[in-house]
Amino acid sequence: MCLAIPIRVDALLPDAMARVTLNGVSRLVSVALLEDVAVGDYVIIHVGYALARLDPEEAAQTLALMRAAGLSSFPGGQDVLQ
């Protein structure tokens, strides 16, 4: 039940609903728990409701930190997680 998934908002509809597509299947979900959702946002959907919006800058930064932490295992790698 906790296996929520990030998914892109395709269209905004009345009553705080939105249309999303997952693996080619179109579904309606509620975005009533988030403020100012826009088409193109990635949101985390859980039991039909968007719980959080994914922050693209933070997502890129997390990947950069992972790469840096991975690099640190090699000589000359820089560790920025610390």
Binding site: D55, T62, M66
Partner: protein
């Protein structure tokens, strides 16, 4: 999303862990959330860890921790004429001690329907006004806001043939109960990802300080989990015990305020609630407040939960507390499997036993030492 599953990067992070983990000490890390248990099993993360970094499964699967007496309540309720019971699919197969389940009750004629969301349950109530719709509500703080919104909507639209049987539980009191338990030896916690989108990271701060355990809120992708473990090992090496947030792309310290407001509007905290495997935990669950009593199936149908004993041979209780592994249970893989579950941990894909059966049972056959780094 695939970027967070990059195999080369996973191996590089594993190298970092191997280099940084002190070989003279043990790192026992509990993943509280069933979503992490599932990810760890599915992606073989334990195979990437040094021998002295060990994962302990926690009680964070809402299906697993629901006491069986509450399932029996739902089955009895669904047997009443005019009632339609709606619930999430995971609950349908949870077995009761006498061999029953919601699935069997449905086969015997009860009107029990699987829904994808509370929205669907509410729609059934609207389109079938002659039926009394009861939503069997279960889950941690992730499923609670959708239930709260359903109640608020039904009140707004005067849909009074809708009510909920509330089993929503709270993560922080359960973590405290685990850490209070002297049987469970853990050094740090992988904090839940999606629960934290709702409650934020701040509720763990007093837990980290009071119990002197580091907590890292971590996403569900394999690289997220590995990075969370690196962050925990680093805290332990430095003797620090604070809350860190690995899942910054979705979680902020204060959480989702709209969701928190919806929960506060509709629910109040129960004085005590029984958890499977953890017994009664004070202030660990929610019920509808007096303003929303009309939507409370417990009050409407006079439900008093009877304590029901689990199968005495089943080790789910110990597995949920992190004191035994699934393979320590003599029912595991013999009479208990995902097709014929005896205990709750074998039902949901996030249950420790189901995750082990699905992804790791062949790993057990690897000769000892072959997996050692």
């Amino acid at each position: 999303m695939t970027e967070y599953r990059d195999g080369h990067l996973a191996r590089a992070l594993a190298e970092t862990l191997a280099r940084e983990a002190d070989p003279h000490r043990d790192y026992r890390i509990m993943e509280f959330c069933g979503g992490h248990t599932h990810a760890i099993a599915r992606y073989g993360i334990e195979d990437l860890l040094p021998r002295n970094v060990r994962m302990v499964h926690g009680p964070g699967c809402p299906i697993c921790v629901l006491p069986v007496g509450r399932i029996e309540d739902a089955i009895r309720l669904a047997g009443q004429p005019g009632i339609t019971l709606c619930t999430y699919a995971d609950l349908m197969r949870v077995p009761t001690p006498d061999g029953g389940s919601l699935l069997r009750a449905r086969a015997a004629g009860a009107d029990i329907r699987m829904v994808y969301s509370t929205h669907d349950a509410l729609q059934i109530a609207e389109t079938e006004p002659e039926r009394r719709i009861v939503f069997l509500a279960v889950g941690f703080e992730t499923t609670t806001p959708p239930t709260a919104l359903a109640i608020l909507h039904s009140k707004e639209r005067n849909i009074f043939n809708f009510s909920i049987l509330c089993n929503h539980v709270l993560t922080p009191p359960a973590i405290r109960a685990i850490l209070d338990n002297q049987d469970v030896a853990i050094d740090g916690l992988v904090g839940p990802a999606h629960v934290s989108t709702v409650i934020g990271t701040s509720p763990y701060e007093d837990i980290a300080a009071r119990f002197s355990k580091p907590v890292v809120v971590t996403g569900f992708e394999p690289l997220d989990v590995l990075q969370g473990i690196v962050m925990l090992v680093r805290q332990m090496n430095a003797g620090r015990c604070v809350v860190e947030n690995q899942y910054r792309r979705a979680v902020i310290r204060g959480g989702n305020l709209l969701a928190q407001r919806a929960i506060a509007d509709v629910f109040e905290i129960r004085e005590s609630f029984a958890w499977r495997g953890l017994c009664e935990i004070p202030y660990s669950a929610l019920r509808l407040n007096d303003r929303h009593a009309a939507f409370d199936a417990e009050r409407r149908y006079g439900i008093t939960t009877l304590p029901a004993a689990d199968n005495p041979a089943c080790a789910c209780g110990d597995v949920l507390r992190g004191v035994r592994k699934p393979t320590d249970c003599r029912l595991f893989g013999t009479v208990c499997s995902p097709e014929t579950p005896i205990g709750s941990c074998m039902v949901s894909p996030e249950g420790a036993c189901a995750a082990h059966w699905t992804y790791k049972r062949f790993r057990d056959r690897t000769p000892p030492g072959a997996r050692d780094r």
